[in-house]
Subunit: 206 residues, 2 copies
């Protein structure tokens, strides 16, 4: 498959949400312009994004809401569920486990690890915190598709290496660290301090 820009993929996810809204409101078709207005972009952008994957619309009519939503789910790989392991049972790690939005969209957190004896054995939403020392053995028995790293920055690379060795093919990293992973593993970073600093920049440069 041709290389798809990250920004394109993000917009596809958004389009899918908007389509679900339109579907819910009983619309049978939707125009690129309607989708664009909903998402704050342009109709040309919507059509370019979609045309990358095929030709889904009817000229003069627009796109069939249900069909397009289905196709986007296929394209985004959302026709199956994903198993996730969270490493780090601190405030954020615990919050992620208990957050229902992930499950709702097909992502099941099936394991959570920590190295702190005070946290091991606690449960979040019925999920017991396991000793991170057992990461390999737990994942051998219960394989996961993605790993979520929520440990301090210094420990993040070691955890990433262990997740990769355990067969994880995608990592969502919340630690403020620049992780190195093999090419075949995909990596996304969420760095909250970075977002706040970007806001700070705009406040300082108005």
């Amino acid at each position: 498959m041709r290389k798809v820009a990250d920004s394109t993929v993000r917009r596809l996810s958004l389009y899918l949400r908007y389509l679900e809204e339109f579907e819910h409101r009983g619309h049978a078709t939707v125009s690129s312009d309607a989708l664009a207005t909903r998402g704050g972009t342009t109709s040309a952008q919507v059509r370019k994004d979609l045309s990358f994957f095929g030709s889904f619309g009817k000229r003069g009519l627009g796109y069939p809401v249900g069909d397009l939503a289905r196709r986007l789910r296929e394209i985004l790989g959302l026709t199956r569920r994903y198993q996730l392991a969270v490493v780090g049972a601190g405030k954020i790690g615990g919050a992620l486990v208990q957050y229902r939005g992930f499950r709702l969209r097909g992502f099941d957190i099936v394991a959570i690890f920590d190295s702190d004896p005070a946290k091991i054995g606690r449960t979040f939403d019925g999920l017991e915190v396991r000793d991170v020392a057992e990461l390999e053995s737990v994942l051998a028995e219960q394989p996961v598709d993605m790993g979520v790293i929520v440990v301090p920055g210094e420990q993040a690379q070691v955890i990433a290496d262990r997740l990769v060795a355990a067969g994880v093919k995608a990592i969502l990293n919340f630690a403020p660290a620049q992780l190195a992973v093999p090419d075949e593993v995909s990596l996304k970073n969420v760095n909250l301090a970075l977002e706040l600093e970007a806001l700070s920049f705009t406040l300082a440069n108005r």
Copy 2:
């Protein structure tokens, strides 16, 4: 000031962190190449990014670590502290309040709100959850620079409007919603489901 690309600002934040590392290790100067290697980018990129704001280096020598870090803090607006209000005292909201990383980098959460009577009056890290009905009166007495929205998607726009009316100039939005804010208010979105779906896309299209 000329328009600065968002990607540039993100890299400046990263450069600042790397400079702090180099400073900590006692380096007096650092080359664009050293910074680039540390951050996984190119030396030309580093020089372009910096040259946007001035000429900080010495040819043949590199950049003075301490001076450049200071300048980057000025550019990013990090020479002052910022007061933040969090709206939504659920799992994520609570986790943010208790997360020490923000305070460490100059962002103080001084108020947290929720509409759930079961949560109002609870404290996180000594900070009492206030009724969101009191948002305007609390912020009138204790003004904040930034608002953090951690409420369900349907409520996010109303909260954004109220924060803006209360004088907030920057918003960090965790709700899965496309918020409309006036031009003079800066907005950053963090959408975790979107990140997971981007990972899902790469898994589905390898």
